[in-house]
Structures are given as structure tokens and as C-alpha cells.
Amino acid sequence: MLATFPDQQLTVRHLGGVRWGLLASAILLALIGLATIHSASSELALDYLPKQALRIVLGLVAFAIAFSLDYQVLAKFSVPIYAAAMFLLVLVLVIGSEAGGARSWLRVGAAQLQPSDIAKLATILLLARYLAGINRRFVRIPQILAACGITALPVLLVALERDLGGAAMFVPILAGMLLVSGVRWRVLVAGALVLLVLGALVWNFAMLDYQRTRVKTFLSPGSDPLNAGYQLQQSKIAVGSGMLIGRGYMQGTQSQLRFLPARHTDFIFAVLAEEWGFLGVLAVLVLFSSYIMNGFAVALRARDRTAILLVVGFLSLVSFHVVYNTAMVVGLVPITGIPLPFLSYGGSFIVANFIAAGLILGIDFRRYVNR
């Protein structure tokens, strides 16, 4: 696919101009994650490190493949890709395995696959293609509704898996891409109101007790100290006790004493904060910012609408995960199962993140070629 456009051949020369800083940040983050996972799981019967290392390698391979794919061709096939992703979401409802109250995993041989991670990428692809075709200064309301429709299907399916956090992650993707493709501010405000009403409906009719408890706990942490409140409290203690320079690698009492639940997945950042202190937190936030800034740079110099929208979609996905997860660990937002990109233990998520990175850099690579 490198040679789809005969008028201007891509050469090795073009590789130098690509925003490699984005990949470097991603790899650094993944390595930090690896070290932290080792620390968080060494007290357990089995160390998660080798498995995660393998996944990072897999992620890099996925990166290379994504990088070599032409996003225009991908956009052309976005409908079947989307359909396939939706099929997987339905499949997981039927034969998926359960973990932590959510039925969101597919077992593929020895590997576990979370189809919602694939669905996120597929949705971004389809949204980018659809919104790119609109090509006006402001998007009209029927078109907004159509975009909402594209997003609503996976949201609904993921919500049916009882993975509300995962379902919620589609919303910022849609919001970011709509915003960039030109929504009037007043429409945005109206949309926010609609979401609020929808939220109230979901709260009352669609949410399960434990999910409601989580939100309530967040609003008043004393109400359920045993479960969600406990998690929040322990996470905050872990973060706070890290102080400026941290307790040192593998020295965190919170994590080593197993006070922290899900410390190798959703709360990996708390382990890091405890062991490396504020300086460690800052370093990781800087790396994430570097990733996002490099991404913005790619979007700013991309030449066509599809490319820009794709990059914005990926950046929304990654940045929202980062913001929500780090905010959750320090107790700013309710606890829900949102992993931290590149750092959290988990197979399909880290691969999906590397695919997104590959696609972004692939877009950058082709910026003189595609139009």
C-alpha cells in the first residue's frame, strides 16, 4: 500500500520528517508501565511482567502494520470494519467471559480480547469517513444525529456488557470529532443538556446498584467504606504517601501490602505515584502530553479532512483515558474501570493504543501524498 499513489512515491527520505516523538513517548510509557506492573504484581503468586512484555512486543508489531496501512484505504473499508467490530460486540454478549462484573472479554485461544477496544478504533474510522464527507463549515443537526447514531450503537452494546466505563469512553471521541468538524456552540450546549437528561434516565433505569453506589460513594466517600469508598481511600493514601520523591521502586507499602485493588490495571498510576512520588507523576504526565502534542502537530499539518478527523479521534480517545484515569486515581472523578493507555496491564487495550499511534504516524508519513 505504500505505493498506492504513483504520482509521488514515498521514500525512506520521508520517514525522517515523521513525528517520531509520539512513538518514543508511547514506548517509554509502556516500559514504565512494565516496571510498575512488575512491582505491583511481584507479591502475587505470579508476576505479570512477562505477559505484559509480550503484549508490548505485539503492540509494536501492530504499530508497524498500522503504520504501513494507508488510512484512505482504511477509510474506504470503514463500513465493513465497523460492522465486524459490532459483530464482535454482539458475540461477546453471547459467549464472552466475565471479569469484575462486566461481561466484556472474548477468549481467543490463550489470549483475552476486549472487543470494545477494537470497536473504539472502528468507530473513529467510520466517524472520520462520514464527517470528512460532509465538507461544510458547520455540521447540520441531522448530520450530528447521524454521527451520534454511529456512536450510539457500540455504546449501547458495550453498556449491555455492563462495562459502563468502557461505554462512556465513546462519548469524548464523538465530542472531539464533532467539535473539530464544526458544530455551532449553541448546538453543543443543547447537546450537553440532552446528555444530562439521558444521564438521568440511565441513572434511574439502566444502571446497576453497584454502579450507582460507586457514583454515590464518590459524592460522599463515607457512605460505603467497604467497597468503592475503600478503593478510593486506599488509592488516595497510596498517592499521597508517595510525597515528592516517592518511597522508591517496589517499596510502596500500599501496593506491597495489597491495600490497593486492581493495582496492576486501573490503579497502576497509584502504584507509580506511591513509589516515584510527585516527580514520577509529573514525568508520566509530561510523556503523555508529549504524545498528545505530537499528535496535534500531526493533525495540524495533515492535508485532508479524513486524516485530521482520524487523528483527532485517536487523540480524544487517548487523552480522555489519560485524564479520566489519573483523575480517578487521585479521587477527582468516580471510580470506573478505565485503564491508563500504555501503562495498564491488559492485552487488547495496549495493542489498540499502539495501532492508534501507528495510524497517526502513518498519516503524518503520507501527508505529502494523500489529498
Binding site: 463549515r137 467497604l226 486506599q234 493514601i237 492535508r303
Partner: protein, 595 residues
């Protein structure tokens, strides 16, 4: 192109978005600054005080009673001393204190701790078990000075009657990895599960469910918060059909003997006494066994862990003649009047078969042949029947199959026939073997429990019962045996004569109870001549059987006694049966009224 023109619209809002992201990240970073740097000391202190303890609340296991409600197994509290290294301010002082209270040398305690090295510093180490109450009190009083010590209560299983009931009750042992997997979360590492006996068979019934206490204690061991308890549910109690008096009597008899005895109610299969000797003390398993104790049990002579009543098989000897007798009557190859002349031996298939009585019994009919256990009579009867017929009736009476008792590891025994011979031995059946089987020798093998179940059929007028140790409400299932009542009656009468009318079982006789029974003596080594077994070395002496029931007319109790290398059935086995009947019918407590 259009695309180019509208590209700028898209890019317009990007810098704003980028700014929003940076602001949000900065906000989050400042939040971390607040929590980690500004309030860091506060959280660091809380982390220090944060000691989460999860303690299992042990669910007491169900108690086990005998049929009269007498306690057989109970749980007794045992106090254990735990030592938490992370809370000890001065390690040597801690050890000195413990050594003084426990009255054990400090080196000794050091060694215990060294063995636990490598485990997490935060996990308390088991320092001593079985503390006296005074010691528990000392540690409680000094709790402020020595927060590193913790007292833990554990319930130990106490088998009140030790070896007497060991083969019935079994004992407890730590769950194996496999059991943990099978239990799927119901068991935790280190949990005890039943081994052997009722403890094993009714494990889940007795077990109950452990609870859990989650508490957060501060660095000095003071309780700070309690994160909810999961209640423990104790196991259910169990009542056995066993009669402790009879059980003790049987155990006493076997003190210096090897073998098994079973007393059961032929009407419903309830087992009142169930002894296997030698036995072991199940209480030594209550605590983690050390290698020596285990070795002692395993290497003890005659394997005390073996339950001889259900796990060992033996030749039934002459007791089997009652099966052959019924077979003969049912197949009409013999009637009550037929006589055979016994001159101490007979020649069949060109081989000489000896009767146990060298002088011979003279002319005997079926009744007399059973009463005096004449071998020659049964040699000829066996020859007429053939092995297939004998095997058929043996199986009708439940031999060659399990009885269904509520214990594990029950053996099926062996009822040989033509097919078995070809399949298992790869050679044809020799007619001469049929002659041996007819008097209960040869390849025929039974368990003592099967013999009890066989006697029950004659005792209750033709029903196979399911022997069981756990008391049941309502009637027990029983199966009619497809043989004529008349044949059973003929044998039953002869069995009465065995004990009461100059028969071989006279030593079992009681004045006021009509006992019916059959003796059996099993040759262990082939003897060329008539030699009294008691003159042989122990391991070559005959095995002794006595199968019986009483009252003969309307039986309430079946007693089967088997003594390995005991010699003659009449001398070695029948007396115990008599003792048991005596206890049962004329018990000192006057429980039975024989009006």
C-alpha cells in the same frame, strides 16, 4: 478542490483543543501536587497506620453423636501464639518475653522464626500452639508493651473415644491442592477436610462455612476500622446409629487381636458397632503431624489405617456353607432328608478332600451338616451344584458387590466363576476348585461387612439391607432376595442349632437370648494333616469367623466377628459375639427389656 478549502475549518479549533488538554493536565498535576506534596505527610502517616488484616473466622465443624446422643466428636478451643515481626520494637526483647511466658528456651523460638524467614514481614508467624489459659492471660495483659504478639483461637477436633471409633469417624487433614481446586473457592489453603470415615464421607455436611473479618489496625496493632464481617456458619451435627457401649465392647475385645467386627440391625441396616483392629488415635492428626508421628502410624504392624471391615477381603470359610445350602435347596439338588456319610475325608475328582473333623461326622443330613459344619457334606453338594450356580446364589446374597455403606473405599470382594477364571487368570476353572469354594475357600473373597449383610438376609427373612452408620429417619431401603422362604427357614433353624444344640457355635450361647450363628475357620496355609492351628506360628494360624443374629426367631441384631489368625471361629470369634449380645439384650443399664 473542496477538500482543501474546508481543511482549514477543521484545523481552526485544534489549537483551542490542544490548550484545553494542557490546562486539564495541568489541573490534574496540581491536584497531585496538593495530595502528594502539600498533604503528603498526612497520607504518609495514614499509610503507616494502614494495616489491613483479614482473619478467617473458623466455622465450628458439626458434632457427631452416637444413637443415644452421647458425644463422639467435639471441638475444643486451642490458643495459638502469633508473632508479627513488623510490630516488634526490639526483636530480642520480644523473644525473651515469649520465652519466659511459654517457658521455652529462646533458641527454640528463634529456630521457629528462622523457619518462617522469607515469608512476608507483615505476615504473623505461628510461634506456639496449645497455650495454657494462664499464658493467654499473660500475653493479653502485656498487649500494650508487646503488641507484636497476637493470640488466635483455633478449634481442634477431639475424638473423645480415640482409637475406639477411629475407623468409623476418620479424622481431619489439610486439604490437598487437588481438593482446593475441586472445592472451587469453598476451601482455602490450610483448611481441614475429612479424611476417611464419616468425617470424609459427610465432609460438606459437617464442615460449615468459614466467615471472615476484615479489620484495619494501626502500626501499634490497635483496631482502627472494621470493614465488615462475613458471618461464619457452623457445620451441622450428625447422629450415628452407633451404640457406644457395643463399640467399646468390640474395641476392648480386639485390644490384642487383629480383625473386624460389625453389629447391625437386620431390620434397617443401622450399624451399632463397627470395629477394625488395630486402630489408631485420630487425635494425633488434629495438629500438623510431624514426620515421626506419621511414620509411627504408617509403619505400625498390621496397618492400623486399614479398615478391615470394608477394605480387606478374606475367604469366608464355613460361614459360606449357608449360601451353598440355600443354593442346593433352591436348585433341588438336595433335600432335608438327604444324607451323606462323612468318614473324615472324601475322594472327588481323584483328589482327597479332608473334613475338619478327622474322625468324621458319620451320616449327616443338611441340618446336621450346617450344625457341625461338616465339610464332606458340602463337598458333595458343591460338586452337584457346580461353580456357576454357587456364584449365582452368592451374588443374590450380595457377595461380590459393595453393600453401599456410607464409608469410602469399600471393596467388592470376589465371587469366582468360569468367566472370571478365563478373564482374570487366563486359565480355565478347575472342577476341584468348586469343591473348595463350596466350603468357603478357594478364590472366593468377602469383606466382613458383606458377611454381616449376608447374615442379615437370614435374620430378617430374606431381605438385603443397606448397612449405614449415619442414623436415618423412616424406613431404610431393603431389597427382597429371590430365594424361597422355605430354604431360608431350613438354614435359619440349622443356625439356631449351631449355637444351641451341640453345634460348633456353643461358645456363643446365652441363657436368655436365642442366638443363631455359623462359625468359620479359614486355613491360611495348606495343611497336609489335621493340626491344631494354635500350635502354628501366629501368621500361619487360621482366620476365625463367626456370623450370627439374635433373637433367632425375630432378629434385632446381627453380629459378625472376624479375627485374623485367631484360630478356630468357635473359640476366637464367637465369644465376642456373645459379649455383644449380652450387652445389647441384658445391658447393665437395663436399657433392654426382654419380657
Amino acid at each position: 478542490m473542496e477538500v482543501r478549502e474546508h481543511r482549514d475549518d477543521l484545523v481552526r479549533r485544534l489549537p483551542a483543543l490542544r490548550l484545553v488538554f494542557l490546562i486539564v493536565v495541568a489541573l490534574i498535576a496540581s491536584c497531585y501536587w496538593l495530595v502528594q506534596v502539600v498533604h503528603g505527610t498526612f497520607y504518609r502517616e495514614r499509610a503507616e497506620n494502614n494495616r489491613l488484616r483479614k482473619a478467617a473466622i473458623q466455622a465450628p465443624r458439626g458434632l457427631i453423636y452416637d444413637r443415644h446422643g452421647r458425644l463422639l466428636v467435639e471441638n475444643i478451643p486451642s490458643y495459638r501464639l502469633l508473632f508479627d515481626r513488623s510490630r516488634s520494637a526490639d526483636f530480642d526483647a520480644s523473644i525473651r518475653f515469649a520465652s519466659q511466658v511459654l517457658d521455652r528456651p529462646a533458641d527454640d523460638l528463634q529456630r521457629v522464626l528462622e523457619r518462617a524467614r522469607g515469608a512476608s514481614v507483615y505476615k504473623p508467624v505461628l510461634l506456639a500452639e496449645d497455650l495454657a489459659l494462664a499464658q493467654v492471660a499473660r500475653f493479653s495483659v502485656e498487649a500494650l508493651e508487646h503488641p507484636e504478639f497476637e493470640i488466635d483461637v483455633e478449634h481442634l477436633r477431639l475424638y473423645r473415644h480415640g482409637p475406639t471409633t477411629a475407623h468409623v469417624l476418620g479424622y481431619l487433614g489439610e486439604a490437598t491442592d487437588r481438593e482446593l481446586q475441586l472445592a472451587a473457592g469453598e476451601l482455602g489453603a490450610g483448611d481441614l477436610v475429612g479424611r476417611r470415615g464419616i468425617e470424609s464421607r459427610r465432609d460438606s455436611y459437617l464442615r460449615g462455612r468459614d466467615g471472615e473479618r476484615v479489620v484495619v489496625v494501626d502500626s501499634r496493632g490497635r483496631l482502627r476500622e472494621e470493614y465488615g464481617n462475613r458471618q461464619a456458619f457452623s457445620g451441622r451435627d450428625l447422629q450415628l446409629a452407633l451404640d457406644l457401649d457395643l463399640q467399646e465392647e468390640a474395641a476392648r475385645y480386639f485390644e490384642n487381636r487383629v480383625g473386624a467386627a460389625i453389629a447391625l440391625d437386620p431390620r434397617n441396616g443401622e450399624i451399632l458397632a463397627f470395629a477394625s483392629s488395630p486402630s489408631y488415635n485420630p487425635n494425633v492428626f488434629a495438629r500438623r503431624l510431624d514426620r515421626d508421628q506419621w511414620q509411627n502410624i504408617v509403619e505400625a504392624p498390621n496397618d492400623p489405617l486399614q479398615n478391615r471391615a470394608v477394605q480387606n477381603t478374606y475367604s469366608p470359610g464355613s460361614v459360606f456353607k449357608i449360601v451353598v445350602a440355600v443354593a442346593g435347596l433352591e436348585e433341588a439338588v438336595v433335600n432335608e432328608k438327604d444324607r451323606v456319610f462323612c468318614r473324615g475325608a472324601t475322594r472327588i475328582y481323584n483328589r482327597r478332600f479332608r473334613c475338619w473333623k478327622a474322625a468324621g461326622h458319620g451320616s449327616v443330613n443338611l441340618h446336621q451338616a450346617i450344625r457341625e459344619s461338616c465339610d464332606v457334606f458340602f463337598y458333595h453338594l458343591g460338586q452337584k451344584l457346580g461353580i456357576e450356580k454357587i456364584a449365582h446364589y452368592a451374588r443374590l446374597f450380595g457377595l461380590g458387590g459393595t453393600t453401599g455403606i456410607d464409608l469410602e473405599g469399600e471393596k467388592r470382594g470376589l465371587v469366582p466363576d468360569l468367566e472370571w477364571s478365563l478373564k482374570a487368570r487366563g486359565e480355565p476353572w478347575y472342577p476341584g476348585e468348586t469343591i473348595s469354594v463350596a466350603i468357603g475357600q478357594g478364590p472366593l473373597l468377602v469383606t466382613p461387612l458383606q458377611m454381616a449383610s449376608l447374615m442379615a438376609v437370614f435374620a430378617n427373612g430374606g431381605y438385603r439391607i443397606e448397612p449405614h452408620l449415619v442414623a436415618r429417619d423412616g424406613t431404610a431401603p431393603r431389597r427382597e432376595v429371590a430365594v424361597g422362604r422355605a430354604s431360608l427357614e431350613v438354614v435359619r433353624k440349622a443356625l439356631w442349632a449351631v449355637v444351641n444344640d451341640r453345634g460348633t457355635g456353643a461358645s456363643a450361647r446365652l441363657r436368655n437370648v436365642d442366638i443363631a450363628g455359623k462359625t468359620g475357620t479359614v486355613q491360611v496355609v495348606e495343611q497336609k494333616a489335621w493340626i491344631d492351628s494354635s500350635e502354628l506360628p501366629f501368621e500361619k494360624r487360621d482366620h476365625a469367623w463367626f456370623g450370627s443374629f439374635a433373637p433367632a426367631e425375630d432378629a434385632e441384631l446381627v453380629v459378625v466377628v472376624f479375627v485374623e489368625h485367631g484360630g478356630k471361629g468357635s473359640e476366637a470369634a464367637a465369644p465376642l459375639a456373645r459379649n455383644l449380645y449380652e450387652k445389647y439384650f441384658n445391658g447393665a443399664d437395663g436399657a433392654r427389656d426382654l419380657s
